[in-house]
């Protein structure tokens, strides 16, 4: 079973081994623009006084991305932080705040968050955006489907104009799973 979830909701989600031990919590979700796929997570400690960890969780080490926890087989799947993202990429690749451009050169809005598919998929299914007048919905929030390979840097997300027509207001109603199939 896979469910759609916002990356903001993944933050602070516990990382739990199949043995039942909570070893960390999610900090950042890292995804690859070329594949439209989660490549891993940076981690933070679970305690009140703990900060970011030097370890990260590559996607290959994830058993299941669930609605309440990220399950891993064992703590040995954790790797050095650089295995998922290095400091330069972490600084320049923040998705939140990136502007959304159509391939026709029209500014459609600003990225508020990414939507990913849970379970064992880890696919980037779409984006939550604050729209501009160009979408006929000035300063409203909408969900846009992704389309597999993402044309994206930390500054700008470029999407085909046809995808902008498929924006919906509600994640529950969003048909983002079909975004890569068309």
């Amino acid at each position: 079973m896979s469910t759609l979830m916002l990356v903001a909701d993944l933050t602070k989600r516990p990382v739990v081994t199949l043995g039942g031990e909570a070893v960390a919590q999610i900090k950042d979700t890292v995804f690859d623009a070329a594949g439209g796929q989660i490549t891993g997570f940076t981690l933070a400690g679970r305690g009140l006084l703990s900060g970011p960890l030097k370890q990260s969780l590559p996607w290959s080490g994830v058993h299941a991305l669930g609605p309440d926890a990220v399950m891993i087989p064992a703590v040995e799947v954790l790797q050095a932080r650089d295995a998922v993202v290095d400091k330069g990429e972490a600084g320049s690749g923040q998705v939140r705040g990136a502007r959304v451009l159509s391939d026709a050169g029209l500014e459609l809005g600003t990225v508020l968050d990414a939507v990913v598919e849970g379970g064992t998929s880890g696919r980037v299914a779409g984006f939550h955006v604050a729209t501009t007048e160009a979408m006929g919905r000035h300063e409203r929030r909408a969900f846009l489907p992704a389309h597999g390979r993402l044309a994206m840097t930390g500054d700008t997300l470029v999407i085909p104009a046809r995808l902008a027509e498929r924006a919906v207001d509600d994640l529950a109603a969003a048909d983002l799973r079909k975004g890569t199939e068309r």
Partner: protein
């Protein structure tokens, strides 16, 4: 200042310090979405 004023000042200072530390750590634990431009170790799909 009398002794209880010193005590109050020290307690207030400790509370402010604790609040600042907790706030800073909570902010450092916060995260978001990061995009990278190339595939990295980890690849596609979860471990089955």
């Amino acid at each position: 200042m009398i002794w209880w004023m010193w005590l109050t000042a020290v307690l207030v200072a400790l509370l402010l310090l604790a609040g600042a530390i907790l706030g800073t750590q909570a902010r450092r634990r916060g995260g978001g979405a990061i995009v990278v431009r190339r595939g990295r170790r980890g690849g596609r799909g979860g471990m089955r």
